[in-house]
């Protein structure tokens, strides 16, 4: 990889020494967007070690503690053993919650949503797990490798009817989605391109649970895709898609919507697309630049995204919970509309305002109530409850820092302090009431 000049313009790095100081707010913003919530220890460490070091820690693989390794292995093996997708869902949720590498999980979720594949049709935990492993392997790596891998992934082939794609009866399902949803986006291809590409993927089948190139069902004739003519096979189509200028733009859009803002401006998309191209579609350096950029920390982009159910639920648990009852959490997430391994369609979750309706607001409020006031979903961390003897002011400040990125001010601050002061019961009950109020607020649904 050649050493590139740092980006300029919109993506120019923010100078923390002169332009802005690195405070709990900036650290919380970075961790909030790049992880599923954060613990107070993680926040303290981030504030202390500064932006550059924190970003590197997020980007580079950290060793996992032994307890995580044991639990992760037990949960994974059991999912394979029972063949129950719920067990696999719990495995992944556990990872998001407990991992020392949360950005990898966040990016994995981004790709799961990008290549949305549902167990509902695949019906194999092993294949869903393999696909997840493929995603995780390339989560911060080469998008080209991920896209090539996906085109041969067994779960994907089952999901998009690979075995039905035969020489004399091409099935366009995969060819359509690779253009519309995986690489380019609507408007960057023609129906003819899809039909031709479908023929190139003919014979890409699953046999005995693994990818198999079925030569006898592969269309060997000439195809015309994006104006180029040749006897293309599937891999050639993937490369053609990757070479389209729409591809980095499409990815830039995804990254920006996930990490920066809900409606990125065209020039910002172009700027990120340029960096993606320059970094040869490797995600890690692109993310480094994004997390260091002025635009990332811009005031307008702070607390401007609506939390997905996973960001809300797993994020709250990471901040607050010592132990978690995962079957209930899995059910809750499905009810909230984000059921991992079973997205509603190949389009995945659009998110944003679409997460919100009356029913989901009630579920989110009920989640706040149950997490804060009961032990039905989880037990609270000692580090959260051990503040019981402090004053109302300092308890609200501590919770505001942990749960709201240190942005509790004005009327909100006064209301929280008043609640803590007036709340009945012992100090733990007063604390729980305050947490419940914070988790129930519309402000808390943003990050």
């Amino acid at each position: 990889m050649p050493n590139l000049e740092p980006p300029a313009g919109l993506l120019a790095p923010l100078d923390f020494t002169s332009d802005r100081t690195w405070t709990a707010r900036e650290a919380a913003h970075l961790l909030g967007r790049s992880q599923f919530g954060y613990t107070s220890a993680e926040l303290d460490l981030a504030i202390q070690s500064g932006p550059a070091e924190t970003i590197e820690r997020l980007l580079n693989t950290q060793p996992e503690p032994i307890e995580f390794q044991q639990a992760e292995l037990a949960l994974r093996k059991t999912a394979l053993a029972t063949g129950e997708i719920t067990d696999l869902k719990i495995w992944w949720l556990y990872r998001m919650w407990a991992t020392a590498n949360p950005l990898a999980e966040k990016m994995s979720l981004l790709w799961h949503n990008h290549f949305a594949t549902s167990f509902d049709k695949v019906r194999s935990v092993a294949q869903m797990l393999n696909q997840n492993a493929l995603i995780r392997k390339h989560a911060l790596g080469h998008f080209q490798q991920l896209l090539h891998g996906m085109s041969r992934d067994t779960a994907m082939l089952v999901w998009l009817d690979g075995n039905a794609n035969r020489k004399r009866h091409p099935n366009e399902n995969f060819a359509r989605e690779i253009m519309e949803l995986f690489a380019l986006g609507v408007g960057n291809y023609t129906e003819k391109d899809i039909q031709e590409a479908a023929r190139a993927f003919s014979g890409w089948h699953v046999r005995e649970g693994v990818f198999w190139f079925n030569q006898s069902q592969h269309d060997e004739t000439e195809k015309t895709v994006f104006g180029k003519v040749g006897n293309f096979d599937g891999a050639a189509i993937v490369d053609l898609c990757l070479s389209q200028p729409a591809c980095p733009r499409f990815l830039a859009m995804k990254l920006l919507k996930t990490f920066v803002c809900s409606e990125p401006k065209q020039e910002l998309i172009e700027a990120v697309a340029t960096r993606i191209r320059l970094h040869d579609f490797v995600m890690l350096p692109v993310l480094r630049e994004l997390f260091s950029s002025q635009v990332f920390y811009d005031g307008a982009n702070r607390r401007s995204l609506i939390k997905s159910p996973l960001d809300l639920v797993v994020g709250s648990l990471r901040a607050l919970a010592a132990t978690v009852k995962w079957p209930s959490i899995t059910k809750l997430l499905a009810n909230l509309g984000q059921d991992v391994f079973e997205p509603p369609s190949v389009k995945g979750w659009e998110g944003g305002r679409l997460w919100i309706n009356s029913s989901s607001i009630l579920l989110r409020t009920n989640f706040a109530t149950e997490l804060a006031s009961t032990e039905q979903l989880a037990s609270l961390r000692g580090s959260v409850t051990d503040v019981a003897s402090e004053t109302s002011d300092s308890i609200v400040a501590g919770l505001g820092r942990l749960l709201m990125g240190d942005l509790v001010e004005g009327e909100l601050h006064a209301s929280l302090v008043a609640l803590h002061q007036l709340a009945e019961g012992n100090s733990l009950q007063k604390l729980r009431a305050t947490i419940q109020l914070i988790l129930s607020l519309p402000e808390y649904q943003l990050y």
Binding site: P344, S345, N357, S358, S360, E370, A433, L437
Partner: protein, 410 residues
């Protein structure tokens, strides 16, 4: 807003301590009032009953005047004297007494010969076709009501809400690649849980939330505050009304009746949802059809009749269209085990407040068949077009992807 609703609403606010917030009407009050006002006047509601398994239309709307019927159904045909005659040609299953009353009152439309070209006899495939309204799409991503919700969401989000009742998996009809439709089982699913800890704390938390969300904001926060206001208001209304909800109507003790009662309660409480889907299973009557099908007919008829009475009692009849549908009808000829196999065109019921009840379409011939099945004369997408264009006021061509002529039942 009717005065009784307003009084009740103000009581609600009063009890929450919000009525004394000063001279400027708080946001909470305004939006909630708006929501309630919009709901009462403009919200037209659709209730769909999915008859899963493929209802035997021939034994539901019986062509008793056609000798071919007796010939095709020697073992499981409904004997002529038992048929609830609608005219010389057709009549209803003897257990559909409630529906016959509705028919006679002009409230029930019966659509004959509903289907689609090149019918598929697989449950899954045909159910997909009915729910997606896209017979040519092998892999439908979304359903017709899901797309209708999207259209509405982009224009008036408050009117886009929908609910699925009593099914574990969201019916494809409601699946949208953008809008998330919740699935409820019980009324409690739409309520705030109390949690543990002192009651006073819970009350204080709720009061504080309501106070805080009442302030206007901008961007996503404003959106969330409005949505929270609507949701909390709805839940409180539902709760206070479920305590006071009274009906003199005696709902039968069946699953469908209890689900429709739930719909009625939600409508009474003015929940934002305006599309409901409920399911009644068990129509795949391959053998020993008679007793099971008769029980289902009784469940269907009793539940719809009670629901309609309840709506009338609460002055909601004008706001509700209810329709049944099933993935296919069944073969004209019965099979060897006193049952019927998967067929094609069938009939459906629609409760219509527009005075357009009665028989629509023509009964398909029992002798001019395609592969042993009835031929359709009403495309089911015309039925959808009727509901979308004439009732929900959502352009059907955009939702279905093709223009269909509405039928006359609305």
């Amino acid at each position: 807003m009717p005065s009784s609703t307003r009084r009740e609403f103000l009581q609600l606010l009063g009890s929450a301590g919000l009525i004394s917030l000063g001279a400027i009407p708080p946001r909470f009050l305004v939006t909630a009032a708006e929501a309630a006002g919009v709901a009462a006047r403009d919200k037209r509601v659709l209730v769909l009953i999915q008859l899963a398994g493929g209802n035997d239309g021939l034994n539901t709307l019986i062509p008793h005047g056609d000798p071919a019927y007796e010939k095709a159904r020697p073992g499981i045909g409904i004997p002529k004297p038992q048929v609830l005659r609608l005219n010389d040609q057709v009549g209803l299953h003897p257990n559909l007494t409630g529906l016959r009353e509705l028919y006679e009152e002009g409230k029930l439309a019966i659509l004959q010969g509903v289907g689609y070209p090149n019918p598929d006899r697989s449950h899954f495939r045909s159910m997909d076709i009915w729910q997606s309204a896209q017979p040519l799409n092998d892999n439908p991503r979304d359903g017709w009501l899901g797309r209708a919700s999207e259209w509405q969401f982009d224009r008036q989000p408050a009117l886009a809400e929908a609910l699925s009742l009593g099914s574990d998996k969201l019916p494809l009809a409601f699946v949208s690649t953008r809008v998330n439709v919740p699935s409820l089982h019980r009324l409690e699913d739409f309520q705030l849980v109390d949690g543990q800890g002192p009651t006073a704390n819970r009350d204080r938390i709720r009061t504080t939330i309501k106070k805080l969300v009442a302030d206007p904001a901008s961007g996503e926060l404003d959106f969330l505050r409005r949505a929270t206001t609507t949701a909390l208001t709805s839940a409180e209304r539902l709760k206070s009304l479920s305590a006071t909800y009274r009906t003199t109507v005696n709902y039968p003790s069946t699953g469908l009746a209890s689900r429709l009662k739930l719909v009625a309660q939600m409508l009474t409480a003015d929940l934002p949802a305006r599309m409901f889907v409920v399911s009644l299973d068990g129509f795949d009557t391959h053998s020993q059809q008679q007793p099971g099908h008769a029980a289902l007919m009784a469940e269907l008829s009793g539940a719809i009749r009670a629901f309609e009475q309840d709506l009338a009692e609460h002055k909601l009849s004008d706001r509700v269209v209810l329709a049944t549908y099933s993935e296919f009808g069944r073969r004209v000829a019965e099979n060897g085990s006193l049952g019927t196999d998967h067929g094609a065109a069938s009939m459906l019921f629609a409760l219509t407040p527009t005075g357009k009840g009665g028989l629509h379409g023509t009964y398909p011939s029992l002798t001019d068949l395609t592969d042993g099945d009835l031929k359709f004369n009403i495309d089911f997408r015309s039925v959808y077009a009727t509901i979308l264009d004439k009732w929900l006021e959502i352009p059907s061509a955009e939702v279905i992807g093709e223009a269909f002529q509405p039928t006359g039942f609305i």
